[in-house]
Amino acid sequence: MYIMIREVENSLHKLKFIKEEGRKNAIDAIKEIGKPPADPTARVDRYLEYFTIGPQSMDPAGVVYKLDHILDVRDTRLKDEVKLMAPGCDEVQVNNLENTLEAAMALNFIYKVVRHYYIQGKKTLSLYVIMQIQMILPMVMKEAEAYASALKAFAYGQPIGDGAGPLVAAKLMHGYEIRKLPKDCVMATVPLEGRTALIIKAEGPGGNVGKPGDAVEAVIEENAGKIANVIMIDAGLKLEGETLGEVADGIGAAIGGPGVDQYKIEEKLTKYKIPINAIIIKEDIGDAVSPLRKEINDAVDKVIERVKAIILEQTKEGDKVIIVGVGNSIGVGQ
């Protein structure tokens, strides 16, 4: 038990260091980019403690839209807070700073949870309390280190591993006319293998995941459901032993997050009986939130080849196809 406590204690020291660095980086970034009139430290400390209460699900009917509303309110509130902290920022910088603060917030939360179990274990001298945290410590530390390396990427607006989907979409839509979609998404109509590809991604280059659920819903309704296929491209978590940047395809809505967007997309697809394909680029949690690795960047062309193959195999000439690049568009224009 003593060895376990020591192990948790050492990791806790490291987590404290990472958390403090995260807080410092966020404050420095706000001071440097946002040119605040007053010291933003107190506001940053308050921001790091923000929480969101999920909707009550005793009666689950309509819970998705309640969650959607709460997430919208949270997003607006956090963005407003960043604007108050850094009034000198444009929209792209506000999004990047918001992402930096969210990474610092995640580090703060991880530190507090590990500290909670450590103190609880020492207080109760219970092997099982300490064991719970000690057993998952390697994974927790890996995630914390990933967020730590994400801080600089967000502050500088560098593309991250999670941006693999938007990167593919950007490559397909670059040079074509872009129009805005709800919410924080963009779309371009691109001729692809004799079909019309409606390509959707979150608006970049600011740190933003948009709401692809709303965007896909809007595009399907605009076309009165006459869509031959939907292809979703996202970064997928790889298992140990799998190669970074490996491309795999399958069926279903490839989108993470709280599930609201996935629900909305599935609702529309079911209504109009539209087939859906998913392509994922494999990476681990560390790669997903840290600057984009070359292997992931190189996988973009392979994904485009796979998209073309799916279109040729599953649709007819003249059909309309929706291609969605899911993920954070930080550092990726269009």
């Binding site: 050492n10 020291h13 490291k14 260091f17 990472i18 660095e21 280190e145 730590a148 390396s149 801080l151 600089k152 990427a153 500088y156 607006g157 560098q158 593309p159 990167l167 950007a170 670059h174 970049g204 280059p205 032993g241 970074l244 840290s290 600057p291 984009l292 690795r293 070359k294 992931i296 960047n297 550092g331 990726v332 224009g333 269009q334």
Partner: protein, 153 residues
């Protein structure tokens, strides 16, 4: 400023631990000096008329002091190096991020360090070879040199 010039996280050892290490180190040095002086005294007095038991006791004292001094010195140095290693481990790695710039007309490709404001598909200045075409950023990525360990399974 390029992102890659960002300073690393501070690496500090606790002042309390450092004080303890240096006090122990100082005491160990004093102990070794005392051991040497007791031994030398023993040697010089043994040439005069002194009982052999007195000389033997001096050697024993010098030996004890030397052992205590050396053990304390080793322990404090080990603690110092361990603390330095732990502090070195506690830093946030800032990866080297590169930006690839391409000219769509002549295909010239240049790779430079990432600069703040760079993003994929950003239009840059005109290409030096074809002044009527703007260069664009086609990729921003980090390159990791070390290979992942494989387990042959």
């Amino acid at each position: 400023m390029t992102q890659n010039q960002t300073p690393q996280g501070t690496q500090k050892i606790s002042r309390y631990i450092m004080t303890i290490i240096f006090v122990v180190l100082l005491l160990s040095v004093i102990s070794i000096i005392l051991a040497v002086s007791v031994y030398l005294n023993g040697v010089s007095t043994s040439s005069h008329v002194v009982s052999s038991s007195q000389a033997g006791q001096d050697d024993l004292t010098a030996g004890f002091l030397a052992i205590i001094g050396l053990v304390a010195m080793t322990m404090s140095l080990v603690t110092l190096f361990q603390s330095r290693r732990q502090a070195a481990e506690m830093k946030i790695e800032v990866p080297k991020v590169m930006t690839t710039i391409e000219c769509k007309k002549c295909g010239t490709k240049t790779v430079r360090e990432f600069q703040r404001g760079d993003y994929v598909y950003k239009d840059l200045d005109a290409c030096p070879k074809c002044p009527d075409t703007k260069q664009i950023i086609t990729a921003v990525y980090k390159e990791i040199k070390e290979k992942e360990k494989t387990y042959n399974v």
